[in-house]
Symmetry: D2
Subunit: 353 residues, 4 copies
């Protein structure tokens, strides 16, 4: 928080805070905003770490992702951790002081999808950093209490933020039915491919082959639990897999991967790629493959916390750069370096005078 | 059986029988063959009715379906009923006289797929009327005992044969998760579309919309339980469906149908169509649609028998022509008449002198 | 509503209403209460029909069910239909005038169970007519908008109320995995046994055997879709069933039913019975039976509405008595007549002057 | 093999072998038997290691387990590994020399259970060492080819034999739905409790609490992956578990465990205990617990092999004693020592002259 804001009796900080606001493609401004007040059922969180996601970068560079268009100034950021500093009505004040990981989607909780437990498919969901909902690249954010999950000391601030991409990996593995003894092919070793690999390993998959074109990423995949790696497009991947998870968004990778899945196996498309998915129909039919896509996740934070707290999954090793709020644009462009995996922004750390 | 074959003490007919043998595209010959002897665990069946399937017609006209090529003379036919006339070692002689429906695929029973209950995906399966395995368009066939299911009197000979396409419909509905209260869109009202519609109705689906380009078929769909019909390609289908089952093989129908499925819904591809399946990737991902194909069926005959015996599904109304073995070619070409739905061949009925 | 209450511009009735309030066992008083106002997200409903459930009768007679004790005056009733007469903030005024069925449990929507789609297991659920939450045996009730389901004209007021017990039957069948071709044994032909039978029939079960000690109820079971009935305790039930649903709460019936389930089959306990469930352990283990109990239901109203609107399930035939609000005690004791199946109270019908 | 049998061209040993044959309770004799010949589809295996199971001990001491009675001389043993020395017709001779783990149940492969993939529930299954089917406590055994799984060098002879109890643990975990992030309570830390613990750990369960009365066993549980241990019957186990797996057969443990399972959780009964299972009915119903028993396993060997070969599960640490065939009775009584976990018999090791 800039300039030592005072804090009232309730723990609610008064005054203003700094936030990184996107006005247009490559027009990102650090500006003052009022600190939000937690409404009924909400908690106010001082943000400690925010992972930079490919979608943040895409909004920053293009001002839109598909139908989601940045029409008015928007705060980006949705991979977040922080510390509760105040609570709204109906929330126990015992929560003040808790370090938390933030689930960034606030579902309506009333539609058919919500009530069936598929709240990620809620048509009314409000998701951090997706127009027109502000994200977390600011000093404070107010969120509904149950979306702020207490994390134990074993989980660092950065790791708590990265429970969000980890959730994507958990969800992909669930959809693919990866479990103990499973063999799985994972295309793409970017951040999502790596967390997917880490989860597959933690779940007990005994054969995990990862493909990518980037040798640095392939090396990271090996450290993340891959039992074998291969350059995408090479003929080095053979045999049959119980499941194939695409984290590359590459049509070529998808086409190749599908053909390597055993009868009755599964194909899960995580990466956003072309508009059209082309599949070999005969393969899908004769093997009765089950093909699905993932859209975010549901009910994953407790699992994510357990995985990291127990040491089964590490996330800190994904962080290749830490930035203050003033340096958000550096963080958003860090990915141009092929060595970069995950940049994190720490909005509450001491700012240069 | 031609020329009154004598029958030995064991019930095994001696001598020869007539069979319809495909030598080459449009070269189908009715010729004498020795009556098979049932091996250990087999029963010998006098064939009473054989439904003509689109795949039979395709082999007849083109001599192949994809990689399956008729390289040596082949007996077609795999939708079959009959009466047990003799049994091999290890089979109770009490089965002699039973009227039976025949499941046409003989799995290896030992591979991973078989042992997991997915025997339709067995790579070693021997399937009637698929090269190089002879089918049932003959007077007698020997099959493994457990693949000959006793049928009660309520099921006619023709209906017993058509339990095979009914099984395709049962399997499609299972894969789509159709159940009581489900809304389902079915593209294509040919024989498979109609049995799929009948099963959806019997299963308790409360909204069943069927599309086709042929008004005669659409009318049959209405009689089969559709709650609404629409001309394929029109804009008359609206709303969201829990599931979409394609029985048309039409790329346009698939593309249109996928967009009408609700988030979390399912897409099942039954019809064989183009080599490539094109899907709107964003729709599959954002709705987390589950897309799969079907390949035949597994464990469906008991359900099929129960459905027909209980009157929940009728099959006799699908039969639009009955033929003797001598008229197999007429049966194979009957489908050129747009009024035709299903031709059946009755190899054991009295032949003209 | 007593004494023609006036209705303001918003449709909100002013003044007071009559309600049936339980003060102590057998001390039920019809008294005036203020008409509730719909809060944000709520609708105000004029109650048209309320089915009397065994639990209402139990509270009336004993003042408690297990740990749920009537400690302060309580309005009973949770099987309800009505008409929306006013809406709270955030609800479209287009809903005013809709005839609706009411789902009686208001879950917290935030706990792990709610978010996983198992909101019936929400520890914070507020359920109509269960201490300390008032039920619907009154002229008006305010409920959350999404728990008031619009019903089409094909569904009568009484049937709309009875979608609640129908939901119990739907849930039991889902838990038992009853589907097309299934064989199921149902113990108990009281109201819950009958709706369970109706759903099993609608779902496509092809063998439905119902047991009870009451021949009148057994006769009703036959009309509800049973394919066979048997006196409970007789040896007339034989063969194997895919599933067994107990709606009797009888230890003897449970013990007998479990032994009739095939390997891999399911046992679902709907009826509340003794404190202790005794099962033959060897049978459960050697057949790997799946045993579970049901607690209310989740996500069943859309299915229930579809079933009744489509004519697949009838509910009006269950109603054996209709009562005004003044005669609630008669309705609560109607079940002493062995001919009685379901009494309904219609709080809004013309009261005697 | 006693007295250097000669081996024919086909690899088939001629002559006789030694086997441990149970004639009556505590009347076990080491005697000569002819070496079996592999029938069509079978392989002949020289037995390398046989784990002693509690059921072997029970037969040895009592001559029966429930309805299974030793009526004629019986070879015990069903946890086995060996080396293929000859093959029957239809089996590739390339298998000769393979080291294999043996799945001890030979299902009929034709009944409804087999075809549905639940072959462990096959009523016709022939299971090693269960009357009247001879087991593997002999020098050679012939088994169907697909039930002899090749094992890699990473798996020792003893560990290959112990893939059988590991399969019990895999099956129990599958039935309980244990997966990454799951919390599970396991009662009983005998050999089955330990392998169940090992699998829960390998599967990614993040909270694994094991109870037993034996501190030595509890210590072994800790080494097997338990995150906490507690003396059975103490009040030290608190909180809610996603699943409870009973490997103790103790009524008290079951009663206590069931009450610790969260709503919607699962209870799996692995241990054989009393004839009657007593459960708190209200708990089962109000939490909708899913209770089931396990009977052996199906489709587990590939997973078991992958787990051990990859180092995720160790089995050698369970072995507390190795015995020659001549010392089978010592092996069968080794369990009286509280330090004993698993005795193995190695029938083919050099016998004293």
């Amino acid at each position: 928080m800039s300039a030592s804001p005072s804090t009232g009796h309730s723990g609610q900080p008064n005054g203003t805070m700094m936030a990184a606001v996107l006005y247009a493609p490559r027009d990102l401004r650090i500006e003052q905003r009022p600190v939000p007040s937690p409404s009924q059922g909400e908690v106010l969180i001082r943000i400690l770490s925010v992972g930079v996601c490919g979608s943040d970068v895409h909004y920053y560079e293009h001002g839109r992702i598909g139908d989601f268009v940045v029409r008015s100034p928007l705060v980006l950021g949705h991979e977040s951790s922080g510390q509760i500093v105040a609570v709204g009505k109906g929330v126990s004040s015992a929560r003040v002081g808790q370090r938390v990981a933030i689930e960034p989607g606030e579902p309506c909780r009333r539609c058919d999808q919500c009530r069936a437990g598929r709240y990620n498919l809620c048509p009314n969901i409000r998701f951090h950093g997706t127009p027109p909902v502000d994200g977390t690249l600011s000093e404070f954010v107010a969120v509904q209490s149950d979306l702020a999950y207490a994390v134990p000391d074993e989980i660092s601030d950065n790791a708590a933020a990265l429970l969000e991409p980890l959730s994507v990996g958990i969800w992909a593995n669930r959809k693919a039915g990866v479990q103990v003894g499973t063999s799985v092919l994972i295309a793409g070793a970017g951040p999502i491919g790596l967390v997917t690999t880490k989860v597959a390993h933690a779940v007990g998959a005994t054969r995990i082959v990862v493909t990518d074109v980037n040798p640095i990423r392939l090396s990271a995949a090996l450290k993340s639990g891959a039992t074998a790696i291969a350059v995408a497009g090479s003929d080095d991947v053979a045999g049959e897999f119980d499941g194939f998870i695409d984290c590359s968004g590459s049509s070529a990778a998808i086409a190749a991967g599908v053909r390597l899945v055993r009868p009755g196996g599964s194909v899960v498309l995580v990466g956003m790629g072309a508009d059209e998915l082309r599949l070999p129909l005969g393969v899908v039919q004769q093997r009765e493959l089950v093909v699905t896509g993932t859209f975010r996740y549901a009910n994953t934070w407790p699992t994510a916390i357990a995985l990291v707290a127990s040491g089964r999954v590490s996330l800190d090793d994904l962080v290749t750069g830490e930035y203050g709020l003033a340096d958000v644009e550096q963080a958003l462009t860090a990915g141009r370096d092929p060595q970069s995996v995950k940049a994190v922004v720490q909005p509450s750390r001491n700012q240069p005078a």
